[in-house]
C-alpha cells in the first residue's frame, strides 16, 4: 500500500463518495456553531423544511458577541443581543446541544470543543469560523467553512471538498527556557509567510512539537490559518490520549481503550509524500512578536524594527512604510521598550489554563504599570474556575489586571472590548490586521508571558528578564 500522511488517512476515512468532477462528499463528525455565522443557515433549513441530520454530532455556544463583564445584566448592543437570542431560539427548535451564556462550560468554541472531549482524534470537525484549525491539535482534520456550507453540513452531515496538498513543518530540538508555543508558531509564520501554507494542510512534527502540551499544540494549529493553510494538525500520541481521558464527551471505559487502539494508527507512514517540507531548529527560536499589520511581520523581542530603505522591492517597501506609519513605529528602532496602552491575554490562541499559568508566573508579586489597562479573559468558564482554584485570579487581581468572563473579547472588535484609535496593545490573539481589535488600534501579537511582561513594565519586554 502507498504510504499515506496523517491528513490522507483522515481524509480517506471520511470520503463518502468522489464525484466525477473530483469533488468528494466528505463526512463530518463534529459541527460546531456560534451566534455569528449560524443564523442564515438555520433560516435556510427552515425555509426548505429541513431538519438537522445529526443534532447529536453538533454543538453550539455563544462567544463572539458576548460581553466579558457582568453577565447578570442584559446585553446592551441590540445586534449582539439579537444574534444571541436568535441562536437560543434555533438550538431549541432544532434540538442542538448548547452551552448557554450562563453555563459554567460556556466559552470560546475552539476552547470548549477540546475541553469537553467533543473534538477527538481522527475526526473531521467544521465550524463557521476560520480558527477551527485549532482542533487539529487533537489529531483531527478541522477547518472553517462559510454560511452556505454551514447549512449544507446541518442538512447532510457532509461537505463538498477537494483534497488539500500535504505540507510538513518539522521543529526538531529543545526549546530554550522562556520560549513558548506562540513563539514557535510566530517564527514559523515569519519563516514561511502568510501565503506559505496556501492550498495545504500542515502537519506539525518533530521533537519540539511532540514535547508541547495540548494547549501549546492548539496554539500552533490555531494559527495555521495565519500561515495561509486550510488546516493544521499534530499526530495524536500519549499526550493527546491523557488529555482526552475522562473528558465529559470522550469515550469511556472499554470504548476509550478501543478508541486509543484506533487513534494510534493515525500517524504519517514512513516514506509518505509531502508536497512541501519545511524544517526549523528549536534552538533558533527566540521569544517573538509582530511589529506590523500582518502576522508574518515577526521579530525576536531582542530585534529591531526593519527599515524599508533596505527593501529592494518597491511595492513591499511602500507596504512596510504603511505598516510602520499605522503602527506608529520608526524604521530600525529597537522593539523592546515600546510603551503599550493595553494588554490582552485571551482568545482561542492563548486562553487556556497553561497560558494563564505562564502569565501569572510573570505577574506574581508585580504591579501593572501606571496607565496600562491589562485584561485576562479566560477561554471558558471551566478555565476560569480552574484558575480560581489555583489562586491565579488573586495573583492577577493583586497585580491590577482585570479578571473577566469567558469569550472572544478583544480578539475582534465585535463586542464592547475594543481598542480606541492609536492605542497600542500587547495581545495574545492571532490577528493584527488594521482595526482588528477596534478602529485604529495597534496590535502586537505575542505569548502570554510576554503579554504579562508588557503589562508590568508598561512596554514591550523580554519576559525572560522577569522570571
Amino acid at each position: 500500500m502507498v504510504p499515506r500522511t496523517l491528513f490522507d488517512k483522515i481524509w480517506d476515512h471520511h470520503v463518502v463518495e468522489t464525484l466525477p468532477d473530483g469533488t468528494s462528499i466528505l463526512y463530518i463528525d463534529r459541527h460546531l456553531l456560534h451566534e455569528v455565522t449560524s443564523p442564515q443557515a438555520f433560516e435556510g433549513l427552515r425555509l426548505a423544511g429541513r431538519r438537522l441530520r445529526h443534532p447529536e454530532m453538533t454543538m453550539a455556544v455563544v462567544d463572539h458577541n458576548v460581553p466579558t463583564s457582568d453577565r447578570t445584566q442584559p446585553i446592551e448592543e441590540p445586534e449582539s443581543r439579537n444574534q444571541i437570542e436568535t441562536l437560543e431560539r434555533n438550538v431549541k427548535e432544532f434540538g442542538v446541544p448548547y452551552f448557554p451564556l450562563l453555563s459554567a462550560s460556556q466559552g470560546i468554541v475552539h476552547v470548549v470543543g477540546p475541553e469537553q472531549g467533543i473534538s477527538l482524534p481522527g475526526m473531521t470537525i467544521v465550524c463557521g469560523d476560520s480558527h477551527t484549525s485549532t482542533h487539529g491539535a487533537m489529531g483531527a482534520l478541522a477547518f472553517g467553512i462559510g454560511t452556505s456550507e454551514v447549512e449544507h453540513v446541518m442538512a447532510t452531515q457532509t461537505i463538498l471538498q477537494r483534497p488539500a496538498k500535504n505540507m510538513r513543518v518539522t521543529v526538531e530540538g529543545q526549546l530554550a527556557p522562556g520560549v513558548s508555543a506562540k513563539d514557535v508558531m510566530l517564527s514559523i509564520i515569519g519563516h514561511i509567510g502568510t501565503a506559505g501554507g496556501t492550498g495545504y494542510v500542515i502537519e506539525f512534527a518533530g521533537s519540539a512539537i511532540r514535547g508541547l502540551d495540548m494547549a501549546g499544540r492548539m496554539t500552533i494549529c490555531n494559527m495555521s490559518i495565519e500561515a495561509g493553510a486550510r488546516a493544521g494538525l499534530v499526530a495524536p500520541d500519549d499526550t493527546t490520549f491523557d488529555y482526552v481521558r475522562n473528558r465529559p464527551f470522550a469515550p469511556k471505559g472499554e470504548g476509550f481503550e478501543h478508541a486509543v487502539t484506533f487513534w494510534r494508527t493515525l500517524v504519517t507512514d514512513e516514506g509518505a509524500h509531502f508536497d512541501k517540507d519545511v524544517a526549523l531548529r528549536a534552538e533558533d527560536i527566540a521569544p517573538s512578536l509582530t511589529w506590523g499589520t500582518s502576522p508574518e511581520t515577526v521579530l525576536p523581542i531582542t530585534g529591531n524594527v526593519p527599515d524599508p530603505a533596505q527593501e529592494p522591492d518597491e511595492s513591499k517597501r511602500a507596504q512596510m512604510q504603511r505598516m510602520l506609519d499605522y503602527m506608529g513605529l520608526e524604521a530600525g528602532q529597537k522593539i523592546a521598550g515600546t510603551p503599550v496602552d493595553v494588554v490582552f491575554i485571551g482568545s482561542c490562541t492563548n486562553s487556556r489554563i497553561e497560558d494563564l499559568r505562564a502569565a501569572a508566573q510573570v505577574a506574581a508579586g508585580r504591579k501593572v504599570a501606571d496607565g496600562v489597562r491589562a485584561m485576562i479573559v479566560p477561554g471558558s468558564g471551566l478555565v476560569k474556575r480552574q484558575a480560581e482554584e489555583e489562586g491565579l485570579d488573586q495573583i492577577f487581581l493583586d497585580a491590577g489586571f482585570e479578571w473577566r468572563e469567558a469569550g472572544c473579547s478583544m480578539c475582534l472588535g465585535m463586542n464592547p472590548d475594543k481598542l480606541t484609535p492609536g492605542q497600542r496593545c500587547a495581545s495574545t490573539s492571532n490577528r493584527n490586521f488594521e482595526g482588528r481589535q477596534g478602529p485604529g488600534g495597534r496590535t502586537h501579537l505575542l505569548s502570554p508571558a510576554m503579554a504579562a511582561a508588557a503589562a508590568v513594565t508598561g512596554c514591550l519586554t523580554d519576559a525572560r528578564e522577569l522570571v
Binding site: 463518502v16 426548505a48 446541544p97 449544507h152 469515550p251 478508541a259
Partner: protein
C-alpha cells in the same frame, strides 16, 4: 429551493453597466440574522430618496414593474463584494431571472445557488428585450428553461446557453444540499459502516 421551469412575467430594464452588489444591497443592511426580508432594501440607493420616501421615477417603483420577476441590465451585473446577500435581496424582491450581456463570476454562481436563473445574451438582444419591457402591462417575457428560449411578446424565440448540470439543478429545484441528498443512500451506508467499525464514537447529548 423552488423549481424553475417556465416563467411568464413582467420584465424591468435597468440599462446600466456594472450594477454592483453594493447597489443591489448596501453593506449597512448586512448585520442581519436573516436572508429573507432583504427585498425591501434591494436597490436601496435608487429606489428611495434621501428622506426615505420612494423615488417615483425609479422603474421598480412604477406599475407594472413593481411586480417584475425578470431584470434586464447591461454588462457585468453583480460585480463588487462577493456577498450572498445580493441574490437573497433580489429573490426576496421577487426576481427569478436576470438577463445581461455579462455577469460577475461569484454573483453568477450565487444566483444558481439561490434558484435565480442568470441568462447571458448579446447586448443588442438585451436592447431588444429592454424595449419589449417598456410595453406596459404587455411587457411580459416568457422564459422556457426546458427548451432554453426567451419568448418575446411578439412570439419571437431567442435561444440561450446554460450548463446542462445547472439546468438540471434549476429544473429539479436542487440546491447543493438537494444535490448531495440525492446521495443519501451512500451517506447512510457510510454511517452504518462507521457505526460498525468505530462503535465507541460518542454522541453529544446534554440534559
Amino acid at each position: 429551493m423552488e423549481k424553475f421551469t417556465t416563467l411568464s412575467a413582467v420584465a424591468a430594464a435597468l440599462p446600466e453597466d456594472n450594477i454592483d452588489t453594493d447597489k443591489i444591497i448596501p453593506a449597512r443592511f448586512l448585520k442581519t440574522t436573516q436572508r429573507t426580508g432583504l427585498g425591501k432594501y434591494a436597490f436601496d440607493s435608487m429606489r428611495y430618496r434621501p428622506d426615505g420616501s420612494e423615488n417615483p421615477d425609479f422603474i421598480l417603483n412604477r406599475e407594472p414593474w413593481r411586480k417584475a420577476e425578470i431584470l434586464v441590465t447591461y454588462d457585468n451585473l453583480g460585480c463588487g463584494s462577493s456577498r450572498e446577500h445580493a441574490p437573497w435581496a433580489l429573490l426576496d424582491f421577487g426576481i427569478r431571472c436576470v438577463i445581461a450581456p455579462s455577469f460577475a463570476d461569484i454573483f453568477f454562481n450565487n444566483c444558481f445557488k439561490n434558484g435565480i436563473l442568470p441568462i447571458a445574451l448579446p447586448r443588442d438582444v438585451c436592447d431588444q428585450l429592454m424595449s419589449d419591457s417598456t410595453m406596459g402591462s404587455n411587457a411580459r417575457l416568457t422564459i422556457d428553461l426546458p427548451r432554453q428560449v426567451v419568448i418575446r411578446p411578439d412570439g419571437e424565440e431567442v435561444p440561450f446557453e446554460i450548463d446542462p448540470f445547472r439546468k438540471h439543478m434549476l429544473l429539479e429545484g436542487l440546491d447543493d444540499i438537494g444535490q448531495t441528498l440525492q446521495h443519501d443512500t451512500e451517506i447512510k451506508t457510510f454511517e452504518q459502516k462507521v457505526d460498525g467499525e468505530r462503535p465507541w464514537m460518542p454522541t453529544i447529548t446534554l440534559d
